[in-house]
Subunit: 299 residues, 6 copies
């Protein structure tokens, strides 16, 4: 079970110039083989399928906390894509209000969607359950996860280099730091179980995280060395695995007993050309208003 | 963001006779077009892509709470499949310990997986992001969701009729009741926005829920008329939409301010024939034990 | 069984400036989840799988007539795409006669195809049988169909806003009107079976059809309130379901006993750069000519 | 445009013992790479995309008539599958009415479908638009079609050998004969255009059609040497291509000016366990009855 | 470029009792995510895409030799599947010669194929290019390859446990040993580049290779510690990476300057029920005989 | 088994201006339905699955030699794509070093790949095993192969017309000639088995190969009439099938007893922006250097 909190794990800028081509690139971080849907679903299924939890609890708890954090990552990627697409459809049609999108590779942001995120990659191909690896063999699953985070870091770096829209940069700067934490966590878990020191592979790809300007503020706040506890009472034993020095900075790793505080998401404006949330958004607003009133919520 | 709670929304029986063929049928409820991955991801993406949240908050909150509940549903389906597969691999190999699985249609439960759930349907085909509909148009999204829940109810009924393993029956009995609540919720939302009374379509399929023995205890506890608030402070305005009489029983619908209490999951035993959580589970147990000790967690 | 008639359901303009990017968008109306392949195949399979036809004939006949009309729609979408692509390949190669296409997202119109329609969506992804819903449960199938037509109307509106090539506009103007008729037909069918009044959802999306200039001539001719009988002697009982006032105009719905008269399709010119119908079209013409002569057809 | 006629191209026996495993094999003839969806859609798209129709009319007309016939073939395959599945769900649930299906590879006939045909192959994988070849180059398209019909004949022969349910045998016996006609037609068309005599490849696979008992009555009636005209006034010039002796029997080929008369389809009984056409079919019957009465159709 | 040698890398027994269900399991080793198509194509594409080959030659050569060996592995898996299916179709049809296959999950071995291997996994799903990881980043590609070989070892062990047909056991016994060598090779390569000692992960899964009886003869011959040079003059520098002790036995690793000698493949008999190599194999034999004679090859 | 030779079958120019859009078009020749992955894998699987090899050796040997040659073709296509992409990533990041790629349809060349070839088509869709036809029926497989080569020739001609980058033209000029040889070979094989003279279909598409300037040097060297023996001792009997005059030039066909000599591939430079072969390629070079030294290879 989960509880949802209506906050984002990092702060995103409000919409500025729309960048639909850049949004297509960011989709790789959502629905690509190494996107956040993949990290979320790999760890989630591995935790659901975990056998002998009592016997291996620190590992189970580590996995479950990271899985929970990844939910916040798909939320962030979605918010970024929505932000980047805002402004492409703010005129009410009909007419040629979407003509600008005719030459875009992925027209589905406009035709199927309402200028929102889709569970697709940068080719427009859907995320698929075949991206999930859940062998049940703990060492293998962790080996996989280390590889997956490495591929994910690669893809985030490339999207960083390709897209400089402020929302995309806020996203990739943050995800690079947090993905790095997950790489470390899985490296440590493999080390505890086998003795192999995967931290010698850091950074992988070989570009140091602190060379990236948008990562620096997060590193300064210590986000690169903390694993958060995304639960109230459960999943608390991850601390037994997430220990030792950070492979890039040498600082001690920390398991923080609470989730991060988070940031208020921007409430993105209607895009009537694509009927989001409707052709005449004000009608919905009115109906909602009177429902709230009737329920004693207004004011 | 989410917090995870290590409890299941309903109680599942412990493993009994394994039923790998039945587990394949249950996979449809996980990764099929109308499975719980689909309900989870449809509502999650719709909530992520929701524009003008302030203006339409009761609808946004309704969607977000149901999305949060669905996470618990994929968890339940996974637990069921794991339970049904337990006992197929409890002898350590090598040898022909998995020979019994040779004639099963979906051998991937054994070959790729460790006798656990996969994000696949009953054909073994992976869940795909193309199952997600997120048009951004509120009325359309809700119309879709009503249809999706109807298809989901159909599929649960069929799996109920096909598989009588105790875990499968505990699952379908519960999901039929909760899915019914979501059908009602979306019907009410459409009605508030358009005046169309979709509750006249109930029950759809036309078999009354209370004819199903495994549903009755849940109905007796009132689970069929309650929508839960799966958050602390946020998403609280769903109450403004989820109102009026239940279409089958006439009782008043309720928005409950807390999540359900939930049930302790069974800790499923190792299956060494498929190396879950390892070929020699006791080694992992030992390592975990000394990590816990070192971290001051051992009790 | 079917008989084919070599006429189009509406008039399309002859080729003018080619618009390959626009043609990619129009592909969504062919092979997308909500494209005409989907409406055709959903209703066709549902009619093939209809049980107890005698007992439910008016519904069976309604479905079968709409299915038959949809065949004409895939034909129209194909004709539109062919028209829009005409002129991209009218020079005989080799040489760089197709260089202009190098930057197009879907190069398969040029490489695999001969500047013709493909059963793909706007991403270039193939239409798939998994888009077909055929549960056999009449109420569910109709609920699905209403949702499908709503999604289809959304997609047509978006393509309308995105592409203003004369052929695309002739297509979307017509399909919006006819798709609207199918929405009404399924709403009425659901109402007859359950009492739920889905016409309150009209128009969905909320933009009135008569605001679209290219729809107006069709509305003036009454195309928005007529269901056609696409058969000689069979499938005649749809009239029992397709009754009552039109939800947008209040006019009485009509079941017309004949198919529409249709329009002569344009015979599109060869495109030798893509070898359609050959590298040297005149050779084929000559062979055909002498075959016709030998068969006594020439004249 | 098409007109639909509610008759089947050959006679099928009424339901007898259900054969769900056999029905899965027959699905290959529906949705496989060489199934009837493929022949239908290949020829249909090729005819839609045909350029310079006036200049090459005999070929255009040949293609269009065969395309029209193929529609009747998907109808026949669907009717066969429905017939073979009838009896698997005739008890009203809930309870374990579908337990027998638990071990079937393709459970979707029961879970997604209502014991009806699906656009899938024998693996349960959906038919895909990527099975369509429409290059626009007439000689290539015809070369492809000859190959496609050869693959189709292979698959029909295999299904014949695998499934001896009376409905399956009625189907394969008929389709083998008619598919053979299409092989001949495409061979002749290639010959007219290039001089290459593909009839030397007959029969391909090398088993003579008349060795198959279920083919013999159709051969006796001359079905192996006739191409039908599936239109009223249009597509009449196929006769100029479909000429010469039949490659297996030496008889003269005939272009028949009318479609075959066809056979009354069986009206298959409800299957309430899968809610087809509903959980309580008699309710639908009643509603339909009063609608017919109100429309002046009853009696 | 390659030269082909008509020998198998290990000896397979001649056909005995057919085992079509087992053959389906073995397909996972052909076309699954971790099958030999995947190892072959991953290493092949990585070697094709290798930049700065002169600068990193020992790694380029290591990769290229392993890629070359994998070609022999898909050949072996194919030969195994063909062996296991031999005997399912040795009677000439028509008639119900394939009736026994009706209940098999993957009927395509019979319907599409001629009792031969297909590029599919154990579900019957096709191998896909999306299984290839070729980032161009050497350390990442090697990390991936280590993970891939680990997953492959897992799958081979499971197939071993599931299928005891003599051909399957000959295959898995051999592949487990050779796959182990590739795991070691990639571990060593990562170590040379980063210092991380992945050999501590051996064996992964944790079952020692020498516990498997069918592996023992290969280990006795030293196959577990040798990398072969699959080229004449090129790709000779792999020796610089493939050094040090074997992680399970401590013996020194060897780069052998020649390919293994290999074994004569069995020439599998015709299966006329599936027309392989024809309905009347003797006709083909005759034609081939006279062609050989005419070419001066006979005798 | 194979031996790899580190040479290309034709000469490619060194990198010049990068052409990422053109590289996307060339991908169709790699991973499209008619790309070189398809020809390679079709013939490879057909040869693996060949039954009664002794009885039909000339055909088995023909197939196996062509299969072997096709390996060299995927290598060539990969080298071409790598060449065309070189220069898109030669600046070290981070920063917006990949900004130019943001508007490309297939961003995966940059995000997933390291500016290298992927097993995808021009849409970015992965090659799939369902493109392989291996019926086991020799005549059918050969009929298929003739069709496949025809489709492949069509696609090569279109890519020729679309992309004039020097590497792409060197590739298509060569492949058109060699593909033509394979068309001839399969035509001859069909003729030997059935008497049907498929060479009357040449050229197909109808554009003569010698009209293409980049084909002329290869034709002058006789490449259009030679089949190579890609083996040492095995597969030598293809000569018995590959006989008679060339259909376009009338010259006698030749089976050459050796593989072509080949050309040295260009060693393409690092692209540090995409980390190929690393973010700091010189580090890898250093490590490799000392490994070579230690192994006695340096100098």
């Amino acid at each position: 079970m989960i509880l949802r909190i209506d906050r984002l794990q990092t702060e995103l800028p409000p919409p500025s110039d729309p960048d639909p081509a850049g949004a297509e690139a960011v989709q790789e971080l959502m629905g690509g083989r190494f996107g956040e849907m993949s990290t979320l679903m790999n760890y989630t299924f591995q935790s659901f399928n975990f056998r002998d939890r009592a016997g291996a609890r620190p590992f189970y708890d580590l996995l479950s906390n990271i899985a929970a954090e990844e939910y916040g990552h798909i939320e962030l990627v979605a918010a970024t894509i929505n932000t980047m697409l805002t402004g492409c459809g703010d005129e009410q049609g009909p007419d040629t209000t979407l003509a600008g999108a005719r030459t875009l590779p992925n027209k589905q942001h406009f035709i199927q969607g309402g200028l929102g995120a889709l569970p697709q990659d940068s080719r427009g191909m859907p995320w698929t359950g075949d991206y999930v690896f859940s062998s049940g063999d703990l060492i293998e699953d962790l080996t996989h996860n280390f590889f997956l985070e490495t591929g994910a870091r690669n893809n985030k770096l490339k999207v960083y280099e390709m897209v400089d829209h402020p929302a995309a940069r806020a996203l990739t700067g943050y995800l690079l730091v947090r993905g790095g934490v997950h790489q470390v966590a899985y490296a440590r878990a493999v080390e505890k179980l086998t003795g192999a020191d995967l931290t010698k592979l850091f950074p992988s790809p070989r570009i140091p995280t602190d060379k990236i300007p948008e990562c620096q503020p997060h590193i300064e706040r210590g986000e690169h060395k903390r694993l958060y506890h995304f639960s109230g009472a459960d999943y608390a034993e991850a601390a037994a695995v997430f220990t030792g020095p950070h492979p890039e900075t040498g600082e001690e790793l920390e398991f923080v007993d609470d989730p991060p505080e988070g940031f208020e998401p921007n409430d993105l404006p209607p895009q009537p050309a694509v009927f989001a949330p409707g052709y005449s958004p004000e009608e919905i607003r009115e109906i909602a208003g009177s429902l709230r009133e009737r329920a004693g919520l207004a004011g």
